[in-house]
């Protein structure tokens, strides 16, 4: 079940500015929760922060918090000199998708994953590990 939104902003006709959204994202990461945006007008759910809905262009947006659970939509094991990493698209249970890394040896499309947060470039960001 979808959790209660972390914060509801009454946008009026002014909408929410991008900085407010991005601040909410980083604040969520620091608190250990995964944010996303839900369009109040068309129901579109998206992760990459914008001040309008890229589908219906409404500015009636709601900032939400994901349960942090999803499945691997696709993945690739990248071989670099510095080592191997798994780069993936995760489909969250709420329906939005995002790029991330997955920790684990035997991963496959459809595997269930859970978000965790870790530092990269001096900030907290969401990463995933296999569930169970």
């Amino acid at each position: 079940m979808e959790q209660e939104p972390f914060r509801i902003i009454d946008l009026g006709c002014k909408g929410m500015n991008l900085k407010e959204i991005v601040d909410f994202y980083y604040m969520s990461f620091d608190k250990g929760s995964l944010p996303y945006i839900c369009c109040e007008a068309c129901g579109n759910k998206f992760y990459y922060p914008r001040s309008l809905c890229p589908k219906c262009h409404s500015k009636q947006l709601r900032l939400c918090t994901s349960t942090g659970k999803g499945v691997i939509f696709s993945y690739t094991r990248i071989n670099r000199k510095e080592g191997q990493l798994i780069y993936a698209i995760i489909e969250m249970n709420e329906g939005f998708r995002m790029y991330s890394n997955v920790e684990g040896k035997n991963v496959d499309i459809g595997n269930e994953v859970q978000v965790y947060f870790s530092e990269a470039r001096g900030r907290n960001y969401p990463f995933f590990r296999l569930l169970g």
């Binding site: 991005v22 994202y25 998206f46 992760y47 990459y48 922060p49 914008r50 890229p54 939509f73 696709s74 993945y75 690739t76 094991r77 990248i78 071989n79 670099r80 990493l85 780069y87 993936a88 698209i89 939005f96 998708r97 995002m98 790029y99 991330s100 890394n101 496959d108 499309i109 459809g110 990269a120 470039r121 960001y125």
Partner: protein, 385 residues
């Protein structure tokens, strides 16, 4: 319509990018029997880092004209990466038809060797300098260590394999079949024998894509002269044209196994059985396979069987990438649109030495651009009957 064309491609060109560009332009004008003074239009494109490693060229078309000495009354830039060359020729054609210019140079290329030597691609320059961004959302995904564009196409190949059972062997088979076409192409850089085993035993760069499924970035330019003047070449017509530009981040697409070629080719509504050969953008093996499905040669998910069954050689029933494509000719400045357009023009003018498709009168080209496959341009060129 297309009065002259040229290809100047090197693994590493020692001189300046402007000099290499000049070589291509002079060669194309010479073929067209035209001089620099006849030129009154310019269409050009560049990707960051590919002009003498400069991230940005302020007033780019001015710089091109300052070097070449071109006065113009029609100028534009196109920013579709691999799909630019096809769109440039279409726009030049329209401009000439509308009387906005008499002779338009379409210039595409640059140098990849500088970026390549740093272990970067044009899509990872942001790891080298803060002066480049890829999307408005870089802070939220560039931390994950991707190897774009390779890793994004790898995600597509992996999902295509999961949904439709497309095997590593069938992608390798495509690379092998393209190599066959390259063997007799004087413009190909790679001509040695290639087997499925060779492809699959080459290093796994970003699973499931192997090194020999990935284009090699090189230095080079293509120039296409679109003019109303008579030329020694056959008169060509644009028989079909379509563009589609998708705006979503790949994770936001309904699925990632489609490209905008679905829409750009549908716009033309052209009977594919009347086409003599196909030149399909080949940044990776999977790119060609996606387009074979998306332009309607076979339905989605069935491309593996298509590649297995069909003879796609220049002598075959469905000739595809008749010169071996950019997988074998190299990818100048991280965009191969010039490679496929050049090959189509060789074919249509009966100039494809050693790999001529018999009676090639109509060719379907498809260009794909952007690390995230956001641009597709479909074009059918035909010899005027």
């Amino acid at each position: 319509m297309i009065s002259g064309f040229s290809s100047c491609v090197y693994k590493s060109y020692p001189g300046s990018t402007f000099e290499l560009m000049e070589e291509a332009v002079s060669k194309a004008l010479e073929m067209a029997n035209l001089s620099y003074n006849d030129v009154d239009g310019l269409l050009a494109t560049y990707l960051p880092g590919t002009f003498d490693e400069k991230v940005h060229l302020h007033f780019f078309t001015n710089q091109v004209r300052q070097y070449l000495g071109i006065k113009a009354r029609f100028i534009d830039t196109i920013d579709f990466g691999g799909a630019s060359a096809l769109a440039m020729v279409y726009r030049a054609y329209k401009a000439v038809k509308a009387g906005e210019a008499d002779t338009v140079l379409c210039i595409i290329g640059g140098k990849a060797s500088g970026i390549r030597s740093k272990g970067l691609t044009v899509d990872s320059l942001d790891r080298y300098t803060n002066d480049v961004s890829l999307t408005p959302f870089d802070d939220f995904y560039r931390i994950y260590g991707d190897m774009n564009p390779v890793s994004d196409y790898a995600l597509v190949a992996m999902r295509h394999a999961k949904l439709y059972g497309t095997s590593d062997e069938s992608r390798a088979e495509l690379a092998v079949k393209q190599r066959y076409n390259a063997k007799n192409n004087p413009y190909a850089l790679y001509k040695n024998d290639l087997s499925v085993k060779d492809v699959l035993s080459s290093p796994l760069i970003s699973e499931p894509l192997h090194l020999l499924e990935i284009v090699y970035p090189v230095d080079g330019f293509h120039c296409f002269v679109v003019s109303k003047r008579n030329s020694p070449l056959y008169k060509l017509d644009i028989l079909g044209y379509g563009e589609a530009h998708w705006q979503a981040m790949p994770p936001e697409l309904q699925d990632i196994v489609q490209t905008p070629a679905v829409e750009s080719s549908r716009e033309m509504a052209y009977d594919l059985s009347k086409v003599d050969a196909f030149e399909l953008y080949d940044s990776f093996t999977i790119t060609v396979m996606l387009q074979i499905e998306d332009i309607g040669l076979v339905e989605k998910g069935k491309v593996a069987k298509f590649v297995e069954d069909k003879d796609i050689s220049y002598k075959g029933e469905v000739p595809i990438n008749t010169g071996g494509g950019s997988l074998n000719c190299g990818q100048p400045a991280y965009m191969s649109g010039g490679i496929i357009l050049h090959e189509a023009l060789l074919q249509l003018n009966s100039m494809a030495q050693g790999h001529q498709v018999d009676g090639a009168k109509k060719i379907f080209l498809n260009g794909i651009g952007g690390w995230n496959r956001s641009h597709s341009v479909s074009l059918i060129l035909g010899v005027r009957e």
